[in-house]
Subunit: 225 residues, 2 copies
DNA sequence: CTGTTGATATGATTTTGGTCATATTTCAAG
DNA sequence: CTTGAAATATGACCAAAATCATATCAACAG
């Protein structure tokens, strides 16, 4: 099993602020897991016993609405930590996590994280900064949900995905999402998401290669009204 | 000027975790302010030089959308801290803060808060917990915005305001909001908010006494579809 | 008391997007 | 290669909510 002290993934998250000793201790109690695409990492309402450090892959965090539809709230990618919020609040998770592609994660037990948070101010400040960023992102999402049209939100989602999760060699978005996932990100009906994507394609804003989507006209997408 | 060590307001926020020494130091550099209803506490994009501890009153945090409409993202009330997020992230504020009634606040300089965060793990863990709670609330708001109707959102807003901000002796909601504010909370047009409130009144779910709203049928509001 | 202003209210119309129905395509299992 | 299931696509229709147009009301300065 890999050693946290030597793992480069930690550069991308708050674990980088841990001391060598703390990392060695984590190394000793962490466990590595492989998670297949579509697999549930944790359920809404489940009590988490630790956090996941994502070594590879992407997952979606979603919440079931009262009307029975799933709403994707956030996507978490390689390098980021998953589950801090629940660990810190001590509450059960308010979101479900599902792998969007094959993932590799390290599971770090709750006690270890909590004691590091209480011992290492630099680490806890780093986590604070992560959460502050998340909070800002959430504010933006709320405003977009409330004030923008489905077309605008979908255009922005495509841009966001390209900018944050990267593209394949052929220029297509590296994350493969179903139309239902897109609908669930922008908070609309699956049919509406399909319709809007078809329209974007007709207008030359995007193209598709197999199941993958490629942004053809970034500025056009940004100007969607 | 009041002394933080003796102030009871701090019981309601993370400042309760500071030591007596730390509180005395804050007392020495804080400043008290009175803010009139409608006054702007800070603007979107403004760099904050500290946090506000709210001794009395309520304010709204809103963000200007690209379509020119203001979206209320959060309301902050007596006992809570205002501006932590910006101080922690080191970025300018992404929200505007406006007093909803006359307020009394204490302004605590940034440096003092930051150094306490880095020195006192209990304090920083408390702030972490606050932010974790906020993050969960934001998730819920996102899901509601995406999946519920204007009528449902407005009904929930009324219930939320009653439960969290209390009521006057006559049973009316203690926070006085304009129809425009209600629209801005649920993310709809002012006319729509007015229409829905009128409908609620016609159906006996709420009543009005002067400018104040009174919830007459809580269960009815909860069942709104 | 009157005129002005901003908030509230309501009607008429249009737009957006949800729902339901039905094809079509894709892909994997047999 | 067929068959069946799931994902994608598209049309028709309907409901929710935005927009535009007025009207009414409350508060207040002059």
């Amino acid at each position: 099993m890999g050693k946290c002290e030597q793992c480069i993934i930690k550069q991308f998250n708050a674990l980088k602020s841990l001391t060598k000793d703390e990392l060695i201790r984590i190394s000793g109690c962490k466990s590595s897991k492989k998670i297949k695409k579509g697999e549930v990492i944790f359920e809404e309402g489940e009590v988490l016993n630790g956090v996941y450090c994502i070594r590879d892959g992407i997952c979606k965090l979603s919440k079931l609405s009262e009307n029975g539809k799933d709403q994707i709230v956030k996507m978490v990618i390689k390098g980021q930590l998953l589950g801090q919020r629940s660990i810190i609040s001590g509450q059960s998770s308010n979101l479900q996590a599902v792998a969007l592609n094959d993932m590799e994660v390290c599971f770090i037990p709750k006690n270890e994280i909590i004691s590091d948070l209480q011992r290492n101010p630099k680490f806890s400040f780093d986590v604070l900064q992560d959460m502050a960023r998340d909070l800002k992102d959430s504010d933006d999402i709320i405003v977009n949900m409330a004030q923008k049209t489905v077309k605008q939100r979908l255009a922005e989602a495509l841009i966001y995905i390209q900018e944050n999760f990267g593209e394949n060699p052929d220029g297509t978005l590296s994350v493969l999402l179903s139309r239902e996932d897109y609908a669930s990100i922008v908070g609309t009906a699956t049919e509406s998401a399909i319709r809007v994507l078809s329209q974007f394609k007709r207008e030359g804003l995007i193209s598709t290669i197999g199941k993958f989507i490629k942004i053809e006209n970034l500025n056009g997408l940004k100007r969607v009204e």
